[in-house]
Assembly symmetry: C2
Homo-oligomer: 444 residues x 2
Amino acid sequence: MDRILDDVQRDVLPGLTHWQSPSFFAYFQANASGAGFAGEMLSTGLNVVPFMWKASPVATELEQVVVDWMAGLLGLPELFCFAGGGGGVLHGSTCEAVVCTLAAARDRAISRLGHAAILRMVVYSSDQTHATFQKGARIVGIPPANFRVLHTTAESGYGLSADTVRAAVEEDVARGLVPLYLCATVGTTGLGAIDPVRELGMWLHIDAAYAGSAAICPEFRCHLDGAELADSVSMNPHKWFLTNMDCCCLWVADPTALTSALSTDPEYLKNVGSGGDVSPIDYKDWQIALSRRFRGIKLWVVLRRYGAAGMRNYIRRHVRMAEWFELAVVADERFEVVVPRNFSLVCFRLRLRLGIDDDAVDGLNRQLLAAVNASGRAFMTHFVMDGKFVIRLAVGGAMTEMRHVRDVWELLKEKANELVGAHEGYCMHVEHATHYFRHFWLFI
Amino acid sequence: MDRILDDVQRDVLPGLTHWQSPSFFAYFQANASGAGFAGEMLSTGLNVVPFMWKASPVATELEQVVVDWMAGLLGLPELFCFAGGGGGVLHGSTCEAVVCTLAAARDRAISRLGHAAILRMVVYSSDQTHATFQKGARIVGIPPANFRVLHTTAESGYGLSADTVRAAVEEDVARGLVPLYLCATVGTTGLGAIDPVRELGMWLHIDAAYAGSAAICPEFRCHLDGAELADSVSMNPHKWFLTNMDCCCLWVADPTALTSALSTDPEYLKNVGSGGDVSPIDYKDWQIALSRRFRGIKLWVVLRRYGAAGMRNYIRRHVRMAEWFELAVVADERFEVVVPRNFSLVCFRLRLRLGIDDDAVDGLNRQLLAAVNASGRAFMTHFVMDGKFVIRLAVGGAMTEMRHVRDVWELLKEKANELVGAHEGYCMHVEHATHYFRHFWLFI
C-alpha cells in the first residue's frame, strides 16, 4: 500500500483538477465534507447491496427516513413523503431521476394509447434546462424531433411563462401529438406556467438539482412554489449539500407510476407503501439498476452531523459571498452582471465601455477567462447566453471562504487590467497609425 | 461523530443483512476488500467529477488504463482496447451497460430505418439471462411484445444453440420485424449460436457479470470464446473481483456507436480515440449520467495491491470450495445437484428418494432453506428451474474459507435430518393411521 500511495502522490495528484480547492468556481459545486466522507466509509465498509428490503432492511428503511427528512427540509408538500402516499429514493444523478420519471410517464401514456404512441409523445423544457434532460428523453426512445425547447427571456428572469407553455402544447395537440412531460428547472417556472401541464395530464418534473439546497432556507422556499402540482421533484445533495459524490434525491407523488415502469416482477405491488404506512419496499424497482449502494447512511451522517440550522448557515454563507461579488462587479463600470444572481451563482463579463462591438467583447472575455485559469489561482468556466460569452462564478465549495472570493475578484481585475492595457494600447496604436497615415497621405 | 457512531452500532448494524459474512452464500457475491476500501476512500476524499477529460485528466486516463488492463486479464481481443480501436468505461451496474449498448444499437438502426422502426425492433436473450436485460430493453422503449426469451435445456448446458437463435430471428424477419440485439450470458452461448447474429448486423452483447472474473484464469478463458464477434462485453468487478460496490466494466468494439447515442454535444467526435492513440475522451458520453465518480482509482488500487496472480489464486480458491461442496452433495444420496456447477455456484436440492412427488420435494426444500436461514448461521437463496425449487450456494465472499463451506454443509445435513425425521415421522404416522383405520373398518 505504501508504494501505491507513493504513486498516488507522484502520478495521480498532479493530474487532478482540484474540485475541492476553495478557489474552484467552475462547472457546478461537488461538495465533500468530513461527514460525507465518514458516511461513505461506513457504506463502503459495510458493503451491503440493499436492492430489496430483505437484502439489508435497515438500508432501505434508513433511506426512506432520510428522503422524508430532506423533503421536510425543502418544505415539499406531504404528498411527496411516504406517510403522504408518495415517496423518495436516492439515485446517483439527475439524469437517472429524469430517465426513470420519463419512463414512468411514457409507460403510463402507453397503457392508455398503445406502444405506437411513443412516436407521437412530446417532451418540453425551457432553454435554461440542462442538456441532461434531452439526453434522458433520447435514452427512453422519445423521437428527437419531439423535443421542445421553450424560449425564455431576461425580462421574465429566464422563467417559463404560461403563454409560452400553452402555445407550444396546443400546437402539438393540434398536430395530433401527445404532450407527455415538462421538465421545469426551479426558480425559472412560475406557478402560472404549470396550468396547461395539469390540464393535459402531462407529467411535471421539477429539477431542483442545485437550487433545492437553497430551499432549505425559508427565504428561498418560494422557488419551490407550485411543487404540490408536480409529479416528481429531484435535487442533488452531492452538489451543494456537503454530501460526497454521488447522491441525488428523487421524490414522486405516485410511486406506483415509477414501479410499474421499472419493476422486473409482477409481485412488486405487494411492496409499495400505502398512505400512512411505511411498508417495506424494494428499491430496485425505483431505479435503473438492480444493485445499489447504501447511500442512505452517507446522507444520514451529513444531516446528523451538521443539522438543519448548520446546513442553512452553510447555504447562507455562500449566498452572502456571491452577493458581495455581485455588488463588486456592479460597482466596477468595466464589468457587468449579465444574468440576475441565482443564489450563489454570478454570471458576468468584462464590458469596458459602450461602443465596443460584441465580437470584441466576447474575445476579451475568452482571453480573460483563459488568463485567470492559466494563473492556477482559480478556475472558472463559461456559457453562452443570448450570443454573449459569459463567465460564471459558482460559489459553493465546502472550503471556500470570503477571502477566496475577494481573491478571485482581485485576480479578475488584475487580468482585466493586463488585457485592457494591451487592448487599449492596441486601440491607441491603431488610432496613432491611422492619424499618421492620414497626415502622411496629405503630405504625399 | 461519537454519538452518530453509537447510533450506527445500536440501530444500523442489527438491521443489516451481512453481505460480508463469510457464511453469506445468497443472491450474488458483492466483494469488499481492504484495497477496494482504500480505493474508495481516495475516490471519495479527492471527490473530483471526471465527466470530461478536462475536469480531472488523470481520472479519465487512469480509467482508460485500468479497463485496458482488465480486458487483458480476461483475455479479451485487442479490438476492445483503446489501442485496438475500441475502448472501455466503468459504469455502476450491468443494467447501465445494457441500457447504453441497447441505446447505441437502437439509434444505429434508427439512423438507417427511421424512428418508427423502434416499434419493429426485437431483442433476444436466453432464459438464463437475468431480468435486468428485459428491464433495460423496456427503459429504451423496445415494445415488451418484442422481447424474445430463447429456450435452453439441461442437455446443452443451458446454452443457446445456433438453431434456436436462427429460428427465432428468421421468424421475426419473416414478420417484417427488425432483430436488433442479442444478450448472451457467458458460458451459455457457444460460438455457433452467434452466426445468425452476425449475418443480420445485430448487436451482440456478452454479459460476463459474474463469470468474467473466472476468465482471468486460463483454464476458464474458453467461456469467452467468440468474444471477437461481439459488439460489447460487460463484467462486474464489484461482484467477484474484490472491488467494493459499485464497479462494472463495459467494453465496446466501436466507441462511436456509444457516443453517438449518448453525447449531448456535436463536438464529441473530436474526443473519440482513434486506433493506436489514447486521445482524451469525455466519459459523460459513454454513460447515462453527466456526472460520475473517480471509480478508476478504486479498481486500480485493487489490481495493484493483489496483482494478476493474486486474483487468480482468489478465484481458484472459491472454485475449489465449490467443487468440494458439489462432490459432497453428489456423494449424499439424499441430495442432488440440479444444474452443473457454474464456477463457484452450486445449485442443488434435497431429493430424499425417488417416488416422492415433486410438490413434496419443493415443499421440503422450501422448509430446508427457511430452516437454514432462520438459524442465522448461513444465508442462501433459491431459484426455480424447470419448475423445481433449487437452493443456491454462491461461493465467493472475500472472507469465505473452506471451513465456512464445510460448516454450511453440516448445517444443511443437520436441518435435513430434522426435516426428514419430521417428514418420515409424519409418513409413518399416516401409514399407521391408515393401517389402524383399515383394521377398524374391517372390525366394524
